[in-house]
């Protein structure tokens, strides 16, 4: 008998007399936050910052200047831009733009100063951004190997309050990367240290597209 058949037969024998398990009661909350986009965005900001991401806020028209400033402050001379990144975002930056191609090696990515991407969803309660590899987000490795990642979140449409609200918006067929603050370890006496293998600096730009004219 193959191991497959053997394991399946052993499972069946093991639970043959077990009572039927009840349906799962999903009476937990779908969100822990009041349904108010402004409050949800503030919570996202707070929780991202709490896990030591650098958070910035702007209006759509201010985004190119803000990105240019962040890259300049970092001293970035090269910036990686995934296919599908909105053309205007890097219009004001003087850093040399390199494209993300399947042929580029990990060593080449290691030499890039910064990477700018969008995201699929951001989760306020946990301070998490989720990338799914679609337009403007690129392959998984481009937000991993370079040491500086700037992620742009469009509010309110890309922001949800909770994990239960995020999952239905994500396609499991795509490879997903959930990022909550920069890479960190607590393996040495439980002291938190940022930046072990992933980018040591994570900057998140919250772009508010509301109609407010204040």
């Amino acid at each position: 008998m193959s191991s497959r058949d053997q394991i399946l037969a052993r499972v069946r024998a093991a639970v043959a007399d077990a009572p039927e398990a009840p349906e799962v009661s999903r009476d937990y909350l779908t969100t822990h936050t009041a349904d108010d986009p402004a409050a949800v965005l503030d919570l996202l900001h707070e929780n991202l910052a709490d896990y030591r991401a650098l958070v910035h806020r702007t209006r759509p028209e201010g985004l190119p200047a803000l990105l240019a400033r962040l890259l300049a402050e970092r001293g970035a001379t090269t910036v990686l831009a995934p296919a599908g990144l909105p053309a205007g975002w890097l219009a004001e930056s003087t850093a040399t733009r390199t494209d993300d191609t399947p042929a580029s090696t990990a060593q080449e990515l290691d030499a890039v100063d910064s990477v700018v991407t969008g995201c699929a969803v951001a989760i306020a309660e946990t301070g998490t951004i989720v990338l799914d590899g679609s337009a403007g987000q690129g392959r998984r490795r481009i937000t991993l190997v370079p040491d500086h990642h700037i992620c742009v979140v469009r509010a309110p449409e890309q922001v949800v309050a909770s994990v239960p609200q995020a999952l239905p918006r994500l396609d499991p067929a795509r490879p997903l990367t959930w990022i909550s603050g920069p890479s960190a370890t607590s393996d040495i006496e439980l002291d938190r240290v940022e930046g072990v293998h992933g980018p040591r600096t994570l900057e998140v730009v919250l772009v508010e597209e509301g109609t407010s004219t204040e």
Binding site: P175, I188, E189
Partner: protein, 472 residues
Amino acid sequence: MSGTYLGMPSFPEAAREAVHNETLRENLRHATHTIRDKRAKAVAELADWAQLREAGRQIKDRTLRHLDEYLVQLEKSVTAAGGTVHWAADADEANRIVAGLVKATGEREVVKVKSMATQEIGLNEALEAEGITAYETDLAELIVQLGEDRPSHILVPAIHRNRGEIREIFARTMSEWGRPAPEGLTDSPAELAEAARLHLREKFLRAKVGISGANFMVAETGTLVVVESEGNGRMCLTLPETLISVVGIEKTVPTWQDLEVFLQTLPRSSTAERMNPYTSTWTGTTEADGPRDFHLVLLDNGRTATLADEVGRQALRCIRCSACLNVCPVYERAGGHAYGSVYPGPIGAILSPQLRGTESEIDASLPYASSLCGACYDVCPVAIDIPEVLVHLRERVAGQGGKGHRLEKAAIKAAGWVLNHPAALAAGEKAASKTRGLHPRRLPGAAAWTDSRDLPEVPPEPFRDWWKKNRT
């Protein structure tokens, strides 16, 4: 490296040494108390914790009840997404499969993301025997590997090491494995982490084969999930051309939606964070993004035997958060090595004897490695009633007999005779009182009991004599 647990002494023997190691006790106390306090705060943030815990329990129970169907569904989904599924009945078969897959790539090196399942089966040693070097890339696992040590905690395997010891290990051994530690390395955690970053980066960037475990496998979609903090997981999962994941069959969950429960309860229970820094999910292979080849090895290795035990099967709900270790008064004093298994602490005390059977000395002693205080049950995010399983397993160990249990039976029989013969009892008590200065501190024949407990002193006069003098 010394990753094997064969020939381990029983728990009381190993624990006796550990409790006299003051550095170890101090490292452990600091770590477990820090993390247990943080965890309580993280859990208190969620008003529906009790409901999430109950849902987690129910999802796991339902999965286990129909595990055959979910495994077949999982196999179909992974295969449809471009992956290859292998089945391994035991450790040897799993190791053979993985070694064969690595050899087929022509490579002699692999990078590994920390995985309990591959530690359980001794994969690194099996690969070494085949001439393949496995590099552990989790910082704590790296400390363990370089120190030729064994892990002592599920989440923080090097919890028993302090920064001074880690600095010494890095400075002494990194050069043997690759890039040496920087000159003048101090014991600051930031510098130590930087040394690990530099040392491992050269391995990540050239690696062609990655090996991982998984926290969850979604039957419905064929998706695997790895949660981690450092990014070494992301490196291993996305840079190599071939990815091999070795996962226990109990890690299955039925649906994508089920992750909404565990992605809330796991990080808060384990690292006491709202969310761990990185979570990766992948489904088979993706064109031009990540590995070209993906192999999933489904591991039994004692899990179906555990499933067959109606009380003990709840141990298979475990999501390896390690919350039970951090609240356990026995773990805090004895340390992880005393459990003689990759699964230490309360969960190890019920999981190891079920996965491996209770025949060996260490496994027969593990159900007794507890005070039954119940703190482990209270914190468990999937409500495993660990004390219930411990008592159940004690029954099993007692039932199978063995040296201690034969002696205990003989002693109880003798006591029964004495208690039925009052004259003999009175004479014995008198003799005991008169000779109290000569009594040993350890009882011959019952040393297993008296080695870890103080014997009560015999009073200067028997109670019956005192009663006669004062009350009649």
